[in-house]
Symmetry: D2
Subunit: 132 residues, 4 copies
């Protein structure tokens, strides 16, 4: 993520550290959920993983939508949408983490995906508190 972060740090309104942490966590979680959905589709017991795949898709979409709101966090106009999108990302990460954790003993990709969701949720919560 080196070049992306360099761009961010040369933005006229350089974002605070909590925004940067949250961006990194969202990008990691976006990849984790996209890859976990595809991995679940390759498992023999794919049928029992349908809710896991669903929540992977929903969580990846929430993370993707959070990225531009974080990037424009320096603008006052985007403050209300940012807070609401962070809450949506927290809800998606929580639901996906809980479902992936249920399968963590059988599928390592679910265990790693649950970790990515947990970290992303925590980063969003930290930023949300800092914004109040």
């Amino acid at each position: 993520m080196d070049h992306g972060l360099h761009v961010l740090r040369s933005h006229p309104q350089k974002p605070m550290a909590a925004v940067e942490d949250c961006l990194k966590a969202c990008l990691d979680c976006l990849l984790a959920c996209t890859a976990c959905a595809d991995a679940c589709l390759s498992e023999r017991n794919g049928a029992s993983l349908s809710d896991c795949i669903r929540l992977d898709v929903v969580c990846a979409a929430a993370c993707a939508a959070t990225i531009p709101t974080l990037v424009s966090s320096g603008s006052a106009a985007g403050r209300a949408p940012l807070k609401a999108q962070l809450s949506a990302c927290i809800a998606a990460c929580s639901a996906c983490e809980a479902e992936c954790r249920r399968h963590a003993n059988h599928h390592r990709h679910c265990a790693h995906c649950a970790d990515a969701c947990q970290i992303c949720r925590a980063a969003c919560e930290t930023l949300l508190k800092a914004l109040v």
Copy 2:
């Protein structure tokens, strides 16, 4: 949107009408905001439209993320993420509508975009109430 709606109606868990209305509004608003951002970039007074472009981008992303949460609304697992994403979409639409409305007298694309945001916000609010 005919074929997309036909797919939706042949889903084993056929969604309620409010979900379908919300999907149509999100897709319309996604197009409106994407096109309004590009149109603003073509205007001579583009500099004064920077917050409008920003909110167009944020609102398009929120609408895009709401689509998969709506589509999986038949699954109990996705209920909490759906509600939170609807709230995020309402916040993004409200902010974008307010900013676009400020420029509606000078730019017809902003007037139409504000209308799309207003309708999408209302559709999300209606569904959110129905889900309680």
Copy 3:
């Protein structure tokens, strides 16, 4: 899609009709593929639909990426990316259409999704020819 199209038509560089047709087809196909993936996850024989779900996800992503390239088609700078993204959308629609067609007799959502992919592919091909 009424308000989105009104925004597009009030863009300083009003796009040609083939761009508008392509946008409508991409939005329809985006919804069709997103809904077909979720519907497949609800089917009892979900395991045999894993490639269908995969291609639904890939095709929805290709359609989503094509939308901003179409919207900025009035700018000379975006011409090369537009052509390449149209080709990518054609490839994704073709692959998804072929896979969905295999399941069309058993699942009506796959039949409707294949139709959406076919129409989107044709709209992209028509525009690609018009751009040469």
Copy 4:
């Protein structure tokens, strides 16, 4: 990107190294382009950066669409869409890199964004050759 990569490596069809490199480059470029667009909107000479913002948006969308095609590269069904989307990503990165490079002396975010585009383009080209 640690957890996302761990998920990827525990996928039943572990992807080759070139796929992993390409995913990292796409995620970096997605962030770079999203942040560069917002940074350009904050610059005083925003009007002269309209094509740069446009190509940032188009390139971010191309990178976003490439991610799921890369993740499902282990499935034979997705091979044709993957190749076409890699070509689309190469075209978007090339156009965005060229435009950002023009502004690199005045805006450091454009210089860093051009670097991210260059690396992403190279990673896509390397993978495309490996797939033939």
